[in-house]
């Protein structure tokens, strides 16, 4: 895209952000779909694990795998090292499986899906029709129809309700379906890669997920293939007292490329809900994966009631030489965020990038960051993290950069900046740096500051009110990360930044 054009769009977006601030209520996805649901009994046990497996009609090996994880999980304790404070989670007081009644029989095509579900996604701005790009996303009209298409896998509570553009993707050899389908249709791929990046026993939440994950997305890009469109998963939690445990597995075979987007929302409720997901990405020689997330789970209300507890394990394994991965995340939602998308740079000349914006307002708490594990020679990594705290929120960057003795000539650059809005919030940085060879270079920089008075004054003097001015300055602060997002996501993210900060000024 020509530079001029890009600038144009960005200018437009700033205006849009300002408008969004004026027009929007705080959490616009807080409504609930009234739909008849079917639940598994409350609590977790071997029976529940068996039940989830049976509901998904899984083969014996998958059930065994889950049970192994469950037995391990029972012996583990919840980690407490993050700078997060929340009431004890009662794991027996949750529903581990909830699906719309109408999904009892898997619809064969999107036409058979319950219209209520389709309407839900329509309202979220994610139409499950094979028509356009993510319509409803601001700025979509700027694109020529048909030029950019996004295939969507929509997950509603515990089940995937449908995946779009499957046929078109199949033409290119790309497999994009729900993980429950993949277990049945492509067992050889799932067996080979599931748990190979995030093992069952990896950590408390990942192990829980391994035992009870109900659905999620599966992607396989064959060798030498550039995925013809962007792939996307949209997660929606709807049912009350339900935990969502989805599992995503992406395999990019030699020389392939895919860009993957993830979005999530949940209704407003005054009780907290648990979300423990696992994302595994396997990247073989010369392949490249871009994974972008806009996390907009319900953050709880102004008093800190309710919201999603988001404990997520995301990891990419650059297994082959010259494999590349790029994580981009915009974390605006969730009452509690515990998330460290990581890169294992195993192959030589591999590259890992992590761009993050984490915004915490009101009583939100975020403890997020990344791990860059350099094992291969000439591997490169870059971390850009922007944390914004407002209200009474606490925001922590936690990261690890490690250079293995054999990772000669590797390079890391880390920048983490924190912005504080108001004197009741906190911003923290906890980086771990381990350098075990001298041909590598590791640089780390971190700053903490407040919204610059001069910049605010400049905006105010030009007629903006304080909230608009803050949103503009914050968007500027996040610029480096926003630029790393795919275009339509970047636009959504920019307006989210403004919305998330609403009420933080004055």
């Amino acid at each position: 895209m020509a530079l001029e054009q890009e600038l144009d769009v960005r200018e437009g977006v700033d205006r849009e952000t300002v408008e969004t601030v004026q027009n929007m209520g705080s959490y616009k996805y807080g409504w609930e779909t009234e739909i008849e649901m079917e639940y598994a009994p409350k609590g977790i046990s071997e029976e529940i694990v068996r039940l989830i497996s049976a509901k998904n009609d899984e083969p014996e090996w998958m059930l065994e795998w889950r049970l192994q994880a469950y037995r391990r999980w029972v012996t583990m304790v919840e980690p407490k090292w993050a700078m997060l404070h929340y009431p004890e989670i009662d794991y027996q007081d949750l529903y581990y499986y909830a699906r719309p009644k109408s999904m009892e029989k898997k619809p064969k095509s999107l036409d058979e899906v319950d219209p209520k579900l389709l309407a839900t996604y329509e309202k979220l701005g994610i139409p499950l029709k094979e028509q356009l790009i993510l319509a409803g996303v601001e700025g979509a009209e700027n694109f020529v129809e048909g030029e950019r298409q996004v295939a969507v896998d929509a997950v509603f509570d515990s089940v995937s309700v449908g995946t779009t553009f499957k046929a078109k993707l199949a033409e290119a050899g790309v497999i994009f379906c729900s993980i429950s389908e993949a277990i049945k249709e492509h067992p050889e791929l799932v067996k080979k890669y599931l748990g190979s990046v995030v093992p069952q026993s990896d950590n408390f939440f990942a192990t829980l997920n391994s035992a009870v994950f109900s659905d999620g997305s599966f992607v396989y890009i064959p060798p030498g293939t550039r995925c013809p469109m962007e792939l996307s998963t949209y997660f929606r939690i709807n049912a009350e007292n339900t935990g969502q445990f989805e599992r995503t597995l992406i395999v990019a075979d030699k020389g392939s490329y895919v860009s993957y987007l993830e979005g999530c929302t949940a209704p407003k409720r005054d009780t907290a809900q648990l979300h423990a997901a696992v994302v595994e990405i396997v990247i073989l020689e010369d392949a490249e994966v871009k994974y972008s997330t806009v996390q907009n789970w319900f953050p709880g209300d102004e008093e800190g009631k309710g919201g999603i507890y988001n404990f997520v394990t995301k990891r990419a394994d650059c297994r082959g030489d010259r494999a590349k991965v790029m994580w981009t995340q915009v974390e605006t939602g969730s009452a509690i965020t515990w998330k460290y998308p990581s890169c294992i740079l195993r192959g030589d000349d591999t590259s890992g990038e992590f761009y993050s914006i984490a915004i915490a307002n009101n009583y939100q708490q975020a403890d997020t960051g990344t791990k860059m594990i350099h094992l291969g020679k000439n591997s490169k990594s870059r971390i850009v993290s922007k944390g914004i705290s407002a209200g009474q929120a606490q925001n922590t960057y936690r990261g690890l950069v490690t250079m293995h003795p054999k990772a000669k000539n590797s390079r890391n650059y880390t920048q983490c900046d924190s912005l504080l809005i108001g004197d009741k919030c906190g911003a923290h940085t906890v980086p771990y740096i381990e350098v075990k060879n001298n041909s590598s270079r590791v640089e780390h920089e971190a700053t903490t500051s407040k919204v610059d008075d001069d910049q605010l004054f400049y905006c105010r003097a030009r007629g903006m009110d304080e909230e608009e001015a803050v949103a503009l300055v914050v968007n500027g602060f996040c610029r480096e990360v926003l630029q790393a997002l795919p275009m339509e996501f970047a636009m959504e993210a920019q307006s989210l930044v403004a919305i998330s900060l609403e009420g933080s000024v004055g």
Binding site: L420, D423, T429, E434, V435, N438, R441, A446, T448
Partner: protein, 430 residues
């Protein structure tokens, strides 16, 4: 209870120590012991010991270390006008020392003051150490307060005309000294403390420094050239309004060094700078150097600096764990932390955790950390101008260390430190 029941590591450690009893500091010592029992000895699983193995510090007996006599250079600070106070394997040596007399400065020996029923340091001994135990416990400091056998109690009421210089001599292969100093600067006082020497096979030292309003405290320390000694030290400082605290440490060699520094900036407009230059060559024995610094800003307009540089070769390991904590209301804080390591070969390691924890919005806090080899461009520049490789390395290393050395204000002291660094580089070529 049976005799076969195994002692815990802490019980074994305490059994090997003859805990002092009675005297002015009885209550403080009993309190420290109770706290130590509650926290236990550290292990590798403890967050702040993940990069340093405390086994040698936990062991009941000090691992043997041969004393090292430097025949090739004069003792540090030799020609300087100072009050010299000497400890040999942790015991004060009056004969080798100058008379502890200096205008505006009261100096007493802990071992002697203890015999008295009342002493000015009574309300201070162990209190800054106790305050520094939260939020992270520091078991060796609690052990020190409980078990210290000697040390100095220094009260400064005016501007000291010359520095007090503490010299720690190591003679016995198994000496395991525990020293505890309490230093109090009354408002407006000025004082410079010099320390050098390895002190023993294993040295545990705590220094509590209370810097009164507007007072200025300078501390320059060199941890000796002994190859085999181990040391765990703790500085616990409280810095009042408008006061200044500056500490610089040079470490060359030593199997294991853990320097903790806990600074609480309680008054507005306080200034605290902590700096360190560590040079480690694993070829002359193992080298593991750990700087663990925790600065708390509890008042407005405070300025803090942490400047730590490490040069490592032949399997040497450098660790930095630094933290700036800005409490709610500590507005206009200016905090900066830099940790840089130069790895001169492929065996050496740097492990670091530079942290910020900030609860006030109108602050300027940042940290930086870099690790890597010597700059090739700079090396090429020097080589192309005919500077031999060894000399060029020494030159670049010294310039790399400059930011830390610059934290020493006194020019003469700075020159003295630089000359030692140059000598080290000359000894450790290749």
């Amino acid at each position: 209870m049976t005799a076969v029941e195994k002692q815990t590591p802490l019980e074994a450690r305490l059994a090997a120590i003859d805990l002092p009893k009675g005297g002015a500091f009885t209550a403080a010592r009993a309190d420290a012991l109770a706290r130590l029992v509650a926290m236990g000895l550290p292990g590798r699983r403890d967050e702040y010991w993940r990069y340093t193995d405390p086994a040698a510090l936990n062991a009941p007996m000090a691992p043997a270390a041969k004393p090292f006599e430097a025949s090739d250079e004069a003792p540090l600070f030799n020609g300087m006008d100072r009050v010299k106070l000497v400890f040999v394997d942790g015991v004060f040596d009056a004969e080798a020392s100058d008379a502890p007399e200096l205008a505006g400065v009261e100096i007493a020996r802990l071992a002697e003051a203890e015999a008295a029923d009342i002493h000015w340091a009574q309300g201070l001994y162990g209190t800054l150490e106790t305050a520094g135990q939260s939020p992270v416990v520091r078991p060796f400091a609690a052990l020190n307060s409980a078990a210290a056998t000697d040390g100095l109690l220094i009260r400064v009421t005016g501007k000291a005309a010359k520095p007090v210089s503490l010299i720690y001599v190591h003679r016995s292969e198994t000496s395991d000294p525990i020293l505890h100093h309490v230093i109090k600067l009354e408002p407006g006082a000025e004082f410079t403390l010099l320390e050098n020497g390895p002190a023993g096979a294993r040295f545990n030292k705590v220094m509590e420094v209370d810097v009164g309003a507007g007072a200025r405290f300078h501390h320059i320390r060199a941890q000796g050239r002994d190859h085999e000694r181990r040391a765990v030290t703790g500085i616990f400082a409280r810095v009042a309004e408008g006061a200044l605290f500056k500490s610089f440490t040079m470490t060359v060699n030593g199997v294991l060094t853990r320097n903790e520094c806990v600074i609480d900036m309680v008054g507005d407009d306080a200034v605290a700078h902590v700096a360190g230059a560590a040079l480690g060559d694993g070829a002359s024995g193992a080298f593991h150097h750990d700087d663990t610094v925790f600065i708390t800003h509890g008042a407005e307009r405070g300025e803090s600096r942490q400047v730590f540089k490490k040069v490592l070769k032949h399997g040497a390991v450098g660790t930095f764990q630094g933290k700036i904590l800005v409490k709610p209301g500590a507005q206009k804080t200016d905090g900066y932390q830099i940790s840089q390591s130069l790895l001169l070969d492929d065996d050496s390691q740097f492990l670091g955790k530079p942290e910020l924890e900030i609860y006030a919005d109108d602050v300027k806090c940042s940290h930086g950390s870099t690790t890597g080899a010597l700059d090739e461009t700079a090396m090429f520049y020097l080589r192309s101008r005919g500077v031999p490789h060894e000399e060029a390395t020494a030159l670049l290393v010294l310039s790399f260390l400059a930011d830390a050395i610059d934290e020493i204000e006194d020019e003469a002291l700075k020159d003295e430190v630089v000359s030692r660094l140059e000598a080290w580089l000359a000894r450790h070529r290749g």
